[in-house]
C-alpha cells in the first residue's frame, strides 16, 4: 500500500515498575486500512492502544497518530480519533438521540451539524423508530452498532475498537464488520483488537502481540503461508504458545 501513513510508532515501550507491558513495538498503519491488533489477554494490547489514544504516556519510544506526536500532542490526537471499548460505551439511561447529541457535543460539533448527521445516521441504520428509546432497552447487537456509529460520528481519521464484538452472535458480528468496511471505504482507518480469529481474517493486515512484543505483522494470507497454517486461529495458537507471561487480563 502506497497511501498516507496515519499511525507510525517506533520502539514504543511502557513499563509499570519492573514489568514491561509493551516492549519496543514498531509499526505503521495506512489511511483507510483495517488493522487487526491481536494478542492473548495480558499481551499488552490494551496498554498499547491506550498509548496510541493519548491516555497513557509511553515510557520510551516515539510515534505519531493522525499526524500528531503521541508524547506532546495528545489533546490534538483525541480530537481526531474515535474510540469504542470492549465494555459497552454508550450511556444506558440516555435515549438514542441523547447519546448521539452528547458525543457530538463533546467533539465540538454544532447543534445544526449534530441534528443533520443524527437524522442521516438514524436513517442509514434504519433506527428512526428507536430515536427516543433508552439505550438499555436495545438488543446488544444494536447497541454495538450504535456505539460504533457514535464513535465515528465526528468523522475521525482513525477509530480504535477494543474488542467491539464481544458477546455478539455471529450474524450480528457479520453486520458489524460490514459497518467497519463501510467506514474504511470512507477513508476512516480502523484499528481493532479482537478475540475472534475469524474476524482476524477480515482485516487488511494483522499484528500479533506476545508478551508485549509484536511477533508477527502481515496480511492474513501471508501469515498463514509463513506459519503453514490453515487459518488465522492456527497461526495465533502457534505464536501464542511461545508466551511465558501469566495470563493477567
Amino acid at each position: 500500500m502506497e497511501s498516507e501513513i496515519v499511525i507510525n510508532v517506533s520502539e514504543l515501550t511502557k513499563k509499570f515498575g519492573s514489568f514491561t507491558a509493551v516492549d519496543r513495538i514498531s509499526f505503521d498503519v495506512h489511511k483507510g486500512e483495517i488493522f487487526g491488533f491481536l494478542g492473548a489477554n495480558g499481551a499488552g494490547k490494551t496498554t498499547a492502544m491506550q498509548m496510541l489514544c493519548g491516555i497513557s504516556k509511553p515510557t520510551s519510544g516515539k510515534g505519531t497518530v493522525a499526524g500528531y506526536d503521541i508524547l506532546k500532542e495528545n489533546e490534538k490526537i483525541k480530537r481526531n480519533i474515535g474510540y469504542m471499548s470492549q465494555r459497552f460505551s454508550l450511556y444506558e439511561d440516555l435515549k438514542v438521540w441523547e447519546n448521539i447529541r452528547l458525543f457530538g457535543g463533546i467533539y465540538g460539533l454544532t447543534d445544526k451539524e449534530i441534528k443533520e448527521k443524527t437524522n442521516e445516521l438514524l436513517h442509514r441504520l434504519r433506527f428512526e423508530s428507536e430515536r427516543n428509546t433508552l439505550v438499555k432497552s436495545l438488543p446488544l447487537g444494536w447497541k454495538q452498532k450504535l456505539a460504533f456509529s457514535v464513535a465515528v460520528f465526528h468523522t475521525p481519521q482513525i477509530v480504535f475498537l477494543d474488542e467491539p464484538t464481544g458477546g455478539v452472535d455471529p450474524a450480528m458480528r457479520r453486520q458489524f464488520w460490514e459497518m467497519i468496511y463501510e467506514a474504511s471505504d470512507r477513508g476512516i482507518t480502523v484499528f481493532v483488537t479482537t478475540h475472534y480469529m475469524d474476524e482476524a481474517e477480515y482485516c487488511h493486515r494483522v499484528s500479533i502481540m506476545v508478551d508485549g512484543r509484536i511477533e508477527a505483522l502481515d496480511v492474513p494470507g501471508n501469515l498463514k503461508e509463513i506459519h503453514q497454517a490453515q487459518s488465522m486461529d492456527e497461526v495465533f495458537r502457534k505464536l501464542a504458545r511461545k508466551a511465558t507471561r501469566m495470563d493477567n487480563g
Binding site: S56, K78, Y83, E92, D93, L102, G105, I106, Y107
Partner: protein, 361 residues
C-alpha cells in the same frame, strides 16, 4: 463551553431518570428532619412520678403541686413506704419517686434546712440525670431555704425550652449535605469507571477536569434544594428560629457543600468500584459525621485523643458554625475560625484531587 454544557445536561438526565435515587436524595432530609425532630427525642417527657410524703404540710404540698402542674411530669399519686417505691421502680412502673422527710416545713422554718430525696430510675443514665435535674430545678424554685440551689439559666440559654431540634438541625444539615455531595459525587464518577464509559471520555477531547467538574454540578443543585428544604422544615415544622444572618448561614453552607464535593472527587480518584466508593464514603464519612461531629455526642465530653480526631471531621466545624449563626445569632466575627478551617480543608482536598488526577494515567 459547549462540551461542558452537553456533559452537565447528560448528568441531569442520569439523576432525573433514576427516580428512586432522586426520591431518596430529595426525601432524605425531610425524613431525617422529622425523625430527629420528633421521634428521636432527647427531651424527657411524661415522667411518671410518685410521692412519699410523711410530712403532709404546706411546703411539701406546694412543691408537689408545682410538680403536678409541670407538663413534663405525670403524677401517679402517693405511696406510703420505701418498699413500695422500690417495687414500682423495679417493675419499671414509675420513673421517679420524691421522698420528703418528716416535719419538712417545720425543719425548713426553724433550722432553714429540710431534706428531700429524689430516687430516679437511672437504668438509662441520661434519662435519670435529666429527670433528677428537672425535679431539682422545680424544687429549687420553691424556696431559697431549701438547700438545693442550681443555676438553671446558664444551661438553658439559646434554647429555653430545651428543644432537641435546636441541636439536631445543624447536625442534619451537615449530614445530608455530606451524603449528597460526597457520596453521590464519588459514586457517579466511579460508575463511569466501572461501566467503561470513562475510557471513552478520556479518549475524547474532554479534559478530565471538565468531566469531574460537570459531575459535581447536578449535586450542587440538589444540595441547594436540600438546604432550602431543611431550613424551611426546621423553621415551620420544628419551630427552630434562624437567629442570625441568613446570608451568612447560606454562605457557610455553600462553603461546606464545596468541601463535600471535593471530598467526593478525591474519593472517586482513589477507588475503582462503586461498592468501594460507598464503603469509603459510608464508613469514612458518615460514621465520623454522626459520632464525632458533635451532632449527637458533645465533643467536650470525649476523651482528648478523640477530640483531636474530631478536629479532622469537616462536619464538626460546619455544625459549630451553623449553631453559632443559626441558633445563637452570632455574626461573622464569631465564626472566623470555623470558616478558616473549612476553607483550608477545601483548598487541601481540591489540591489533592488535582494531583491525583494528573498522576492517574
Amino acid at each position: 463551553m459547549k462540551q461542558f454544557l452537553s456533559f452537565v445536561h447528560k448528568e441531569f438526565y442520569h439523576i432525573l431518570r433514576d427516580g428512586r435515587t432522586m426520591l431518596i436524595l430529595l426525601g432524605m432530609p425531610v425524613v431525617q428532619i422529622l425523625l430527629f425532630g420528633f421521634a428521636i427525642n432527647m427531651e424527657v417527657q411524661h415522667i411518671r412520678t410518685v410521692i412519699f410524703d410523711p410530712a403532709q404540710d404546706a411546703a411539701t404540698r406546694d412543691i408537689t403541686e408545682r410538680l403536678t402542674a409541670n407538663p413534663y411530669f405525670h403524677m401517679q399519686g402517693y405511696v406510703y413506704s420505701s418498699d413500695e417505691i422500690n417495687k414500682l421502680l423495679q417493675r419499671g412502673e414509675t420513673d421517679v419517686a420524691i421522698v420528703y422527710e418528716q416535719n419538712f416545713n417545720e425543719n425548713l422554718v426553724h433550722s432553714k434546712k429540710a431534706q428531700l430525696q429524689i430516687i430516679a430510675d437511672a437504668s438509662n443514665p441520661n434519662t435519670g440525670t435529666i429527670v433528677a435535674g428537672y425535679v431539682t430545678a422545680i424544687v429549687g424554685e420553691y424556696h431559697p431555704h431549701i438547700p438545693y440551689r442550681i443555676e438553671v439559666e446558664n444551661k438553658l440559654l439559646y434554647n429555653p425550652e430545651m428543644k432537641s431540634a435546636y441541636t439536631f438541625v445543624p447536625g442534619i444539615m451537615g449530614l445530608v449535605l455530606m451524603i449528597i455531595c460526597a457520596i453521590m459525587t464519588s459514586i457517579s464518577i466511579v460508575r463511569e469507571k466501572e461501566r467503561g464509559t470513562m475510557e471513552v471520555l478520556l479518549t475524547s477531547p474532554l479534559k478530565p477536569g471538565t468531566v469531574l467538574i460537570s459531575k459535581t454540578v447536578p449535586y450542587l443543585a440538589l444540595s441547594f434544594i436540600n438546604l432550602i428544604t431543611i431550613l424551611l422544615l426546621s423553621y415551620f415544622v420544628l419551630g427552630v428560629p434562624i437567629q442570625g444572618n441568613l446570608a451568612l448561614l447560606v454562605a457557610v453552607s455553600v462553603l461546606f457543600i464545596f468541601l463535600s464535593l471535593s471530598l467526593g472527587l478525591l474519593i472517586s480518584t482513589l477507588v475503582q468500584t462503586q461498592v468501594t466508593a460507598v464503603l469509603i464514603s459510608g464508613i469514612g464519612l458518615m460514621m465520623p459525621t454522626l459520632i464525632l461531629s458533635g451532632m449527637i455526642f458533645p465533643i467536650g465530653n470525649m476523651p482528648e485523643p478523640l477530640q483531636w480526631v474530631s478536629s479532622a471531621v469537616p462536619a464538626r466545624w460546619y455544625i459549630a458554625a451553623v449553631k453559632k449563626v443559626m441558633i445563637e445569632g452570632l455574626g461573622f466575627t464569631h465564626v472566623v475560625k470555623e470558616v478558616g478551617i473549612l476553607t483550608a480543608m477545601v483548598v487541601f482536598l481540591i489540591g489533592a484531587s488535582i494531583a491525583k488526577i494528573k498522576n492517574r494515567l
